[in-house]
């Protein structure tokens, strides 16, 4: 591996801006770190270069651990957004800077400089001052300068940010060509998804300090694992769908014997088919709507369709909040389609989908359950829940009446007397997880995951989902009896490490892991008392009396904290 990051964490004033990032980048690979501003991508890049000291974790370049090594000794090439050229030096002196520092002979320096300027197509510009060059030329000089000392890794921090579109395009090609010619491992940071698609072998999407997903551009686009990646990489419609047997549809659950499992479906605008009348065979019907907006954009046409209020439910609540008349669905059509089947604003259309991707997220929506509306509203406005719903772009519904089964989304309850019984009832009647909150709780600074033996996978998935949206530290904790024999201890540790690596590969979540031996409840209490604003994610293997007592002590005890209970096997 050319670059290996292991649990890299950087905090500013206790807040993690880069949170437990682990990543391996192969020899000669071109990786693009993509994310909105403030997602920690630049900080991560600087950490790799040694320009930022990290608080936790390790950075290795070509198998050499460089965590404690200063930037000057790491020997990487770094290109800055604003070029950072030395303005008092000529192009020649800028390019030769790293060579002079290394006391290279004059003749060798000259030869290397000529070679580099040829590479970036700036031959003959040697004696110019940076101020006499255009922005694009200055950035070419910066690239040549960064490559002078033959670094094994090239890092580019938004290198095209300050350039206009045409020059940007040209420089993109130049950099990709140079990268291929030299076969140099490269990381480029950008917030521009077109740039990421155009250049990357693999894209890593960052959000709130976490590396959410890493993959080939087409894989990430076709099958994102998270809502954020689904909506950040290209346009996407997120709908609440229902898994009935083996198929997914958008019919709202009515009085059915088995509550269908709720999923979040991603439909790209170009996968939407708009027809007049009956839906075409072979496509999944979505619903009906009225064309609200038509935008001609040359090769494609962009449309917005207002969906009928009794039709499918948008998984993003803000889409409809502003508009009481139904939410808007984005669609696009190619020019030939548009010519063959012209549509007009106000026309009634049938919407169907060519391809549906369902997100593997365990949290689709929240349903607050309380006896009275006032209590439900109070719980709904609890900062932790409200923030989660906003960041996950999930809807919250409330339910005050008793029903025959658990709601399709995740049930949310208030802590206190009776909470344990209601939680266990919901888990026994179709819910895979239950969130129990003290009303008014804010965001936790730490999330403790206590997986059960079998419920491990589920609880890790939910924890991963939570941690993508809360910038908290997380620890995977396993507590075993103090009497566990030495032999067993090793196998327990192996199980825990397996769980951790599964969390990493399946959910892109890197957790710190701790194995303790002692009384389960006492150890947990100790862990939670050290960090008072912790949240607990607990996996339950079964719903027997022992578990019930444990849940009761956690939910109805004197100390109140948010607890998320995950059941071993999902229903169905």
């Amino acid at each position: 591996m050319s670059i290996t990051l292991d649990q890299v964490t950087k905090r500013y004033q206790l807040l993690p801006v880069v949170n437990d990032v682990s990543l391996e980048i192969g020899e000669g690979e071109f990786l693009v770190l993509l994310g909105p501003s403030g997602s920690g991508k630049s900080t991560l890049l600087r950490a790799i270069a040694g320009l930022v000291e990290i608080d936790h974790g390790r950075v290795s370049l070509h198998g050499r651990d460089v965590t404690g090594v200063s930037a000057r000794d790491r020997g990487v090439g770094f290109v800055f957004q604003h070029y950072a050229l030395f303005r008092h030096m000529s192009v020649a002196d800028n390019v030769e800077f790293a060579l002079r520092v290394r006391r290279m002979k004059r003749a060798d320096r000259l030869a290397r400089r000529q070679e580099l300027l040829k590479l970036v197509a700036l031959e003959g510009m040697d004696e110019r001052l940076p101020a006499q060059l255009s922005g694009g030329q200055q950035q070419r000089v910066a690239v040549a300068r960064a490559l002078a000392h033959r670094p094994e890794v090239l890092l580019l921090d938004e290198p095209f940010g300050a350039l206009d579109a045409k020059i940007r395009e040209e420089l993109r090609r130049t950099i990709r060509r140079i990268q291929r010619e030299l076969g140099i491992t490269t990381i480029l940071v950008t917030h521009d998804q077109d740039e990421a698609f155009a250049m990357a072998d693999r894209i890593g999407v960052m959000h709130q300090g976490r590396l959410l997903e890493v993959g080939a551009p087409d894989d990430l686009y076709a099958s994102p694992r998270t809502r954020f990646v689904a909506t950040f990489l290209g346009a996407a419609n997120l709908l609440l769908g229902y898994r009935r047997g083996s198929r997914v549809d958008f019919e709202r659950p009515g009085a059915e014997a088995v509550t269908p499992r709720e999923i979040v479906a991603v439909i790209r605008p170009e996968e939407i088919e708009l027809t007049i009348g009956a839906p075409p065979a072979g496509l999944t019907p979505v619903g009906e709507g009225i064309v609200q907006e038509l935008q001609f954009a040359g090769a494609t046409e962009r449309l917005r369709v207002r969906m009928a209020t009794e039709g499918p439910v948008s998984a993003t609540p803000d889409r409809e909040g502003a508009d009481p008349g139904g939410w808007l669905l984005d669609a696009s059509r190619s020019y030939p389609d548009q010519r063959a089947n012209p549509l007009a604003v106000g026309q009634k259309v049938t919407v169907s989908a060519r391809r549906i991707h369902s997100l593997p997220t365990p949290i689709t929506s929240f349903t607050v359950i309380a006896r009275e509306q006032a209590a439900a509203d109070a719980l709904r406005d609890t900062p932790l829940l409200a923030t989660l719903a906003t960041r996950m772009q999930t809807r919250i519904t409330t339910r005050t009446t008793r029903t025959a089964s658990a709601p399709p989304g995740m049930p949310v309850l208030a802590v206190g007397p009776g909470a344990a019984a209601t939680a266990l009832w919901n888990l026994a009647h179709g819910a895979s997880q239950v969130l129990v909150l003290p009303p008014g709780t804010g965001l936790p600074s730490r999330i403790v995951v206590l997986p059960g033996a079998e419920a491990g996978v589920g609880s890790l998935g939910v924890a991963a989902s939570l941690l993508r949206h809360i910038p908290a530290e997380s620890v995977l904790l396993a507590i075993h009896e103090a009497s566990t024999p030495e032999r067993e201890r090793a196998s327990r540790l192996r199980l825990l490490l397996d769980a951790r690596s599964r969390a990493l590969t399946e959910h892109g979540l890197d957790l710190r892991t701790e194995l303790r031996f002692g009384d389960a409840d006492a150890e947990l209490e100790r862990e939670l008392s050290v960090h008072p604003d912790s949240m607990l994610v607990i996996g339950l293997d079964a719903l027997e009396a022992a578990e019930a007592a444990r849940v009761k002590s956690l939910l109805e005890g004197p100390k109140q904290r948010p607890v998320l209970i995950v059941r071993a096997a999902g229903p169905g």
């Binding site: 930037a71 000057r72 990487v76 800055f80 030395f86 790293a98 520092v101």
Partner: protein, 282 residues
């Protein structure tokens, strides 16, 4: 205007009026008094003028004025740079207060600074007694003149260097570091060259101000002829003795020197701007 435009067209009318006023104002306030002095000085027969300028007491005063001003400007260049550096690069409690205090020598009547310095550095003052014990006397020696000029000149250096240091982005240092340069190398090859034109401007301003400084110096220098007498003081003494010709001659000499200084400042600034590419059209 007939012939051709002198100024670029401006949305505001009244170029004639404003230009006329500018000419009149500059003439009345600057040109006329200076011209009177120059005429007066040039009215002296050349031989006599030369004798006055090369008088032993006058030459001694030049040596002190220019020597002390140069030394003070050098000291300010070093320490003013350090002060500006800490103000720009570090955040500490009271930074704004310190930033404001830098300007005090600008605002304070120079006589007040002079008396304050004399009180502190006099052989009976609280710094003076300690220095006297160490065998160093500051007040009433050329050292006192230097101390006063350091105080007066400091803000010029700090205020010139500060904006230039802000211009040196952290990126530049990061870039140099990632290319393998160590801390001292970064300072010498990157930071200093970038700030140098501004530092030179600050140095020249402090030097020019030091040559002309009067108020703060006379209280601490002791004013001993041939030893601690500065040129501006000598001019005042000549005036008090009704030696108007002598005063005008020295004044003329100071005028020429000041003009040379200011010209140097402008050239330094132009050089710096060209080098760093400010104001160069792309």
């Amino acid at each position: 205007m007939a012939g051709g435009r002198i100024a670029a067209p401006s949305p505001l009318p009244g170029f004639g009026l404003t230009f006329g006023f500018t000419t009149f104002f500059l003439s009345a306030v600057i040109l006329l008094p200076l011209a009177a002095m120059v005429i007066r000085a040039l009215g002296i027969p050349p031989g006599e003028l030369l004798a006055m300028l090369l008088d032993e007491r006058a030459v001694a005063s030049y040596r002190l004025s220019f020597g002390a001003a140069a030394l003070a400007a050098c000291i300010n260049a070093v320490f003013g740079f350090i002060v500006a550096w800490s103000l720009v690069r570090y955040d500490f409690p009271g930074r704004r207060l310190l930033d404001t205090m830098i300007d005090l020598p600008f605002a304070l009547p120079t006589a007040v600074s002079g008396i304050a310095l004399a009180t502190v550095f006099a052989p009976t003052g609280w710094l003076g007694t300690k220095l006297a014990a160490a065998g160093v006397q500051v007040a009433y020696t050329w050292l006192g003149v230097v101390v006063a000029l350091v105080l007066i000149g400091l803000p010029f250096v700090v205020r010139s260097v500060q904006p230039a240091l802000i211009e040196v982005r952290k990126d530049l240092e990061d870039a140099a570091e990632s290319l393998g340069a160590g801390g001292f190398h970064v300072f010498r090859r990157i930071i200093l060259p970038t700030v140098l034109p501004a530092l030179a401007t600050g140095f020249t301003l402090a030097f020019a101000r030091g040559i002309g400084e009067y108020g703060s110096v006379v209280f601490i220098s002791g004013n001993l002829p041939l030893k601690t007498e500065i040129t501006p003081l000598l001019i005042v003494i000549k005036l008090e003795q009704y030696d108007y010709a002598g005063a005008a001659a020295l004044g003329f000499f100071m005028l020429v020197m000041s003009f040379v200084m200011l010209l140097a400042i402008n050239l330094v600034q132009q050089w710096g701007q060209r080098r760093l590419g400010f104001g160069v059209s792309r």
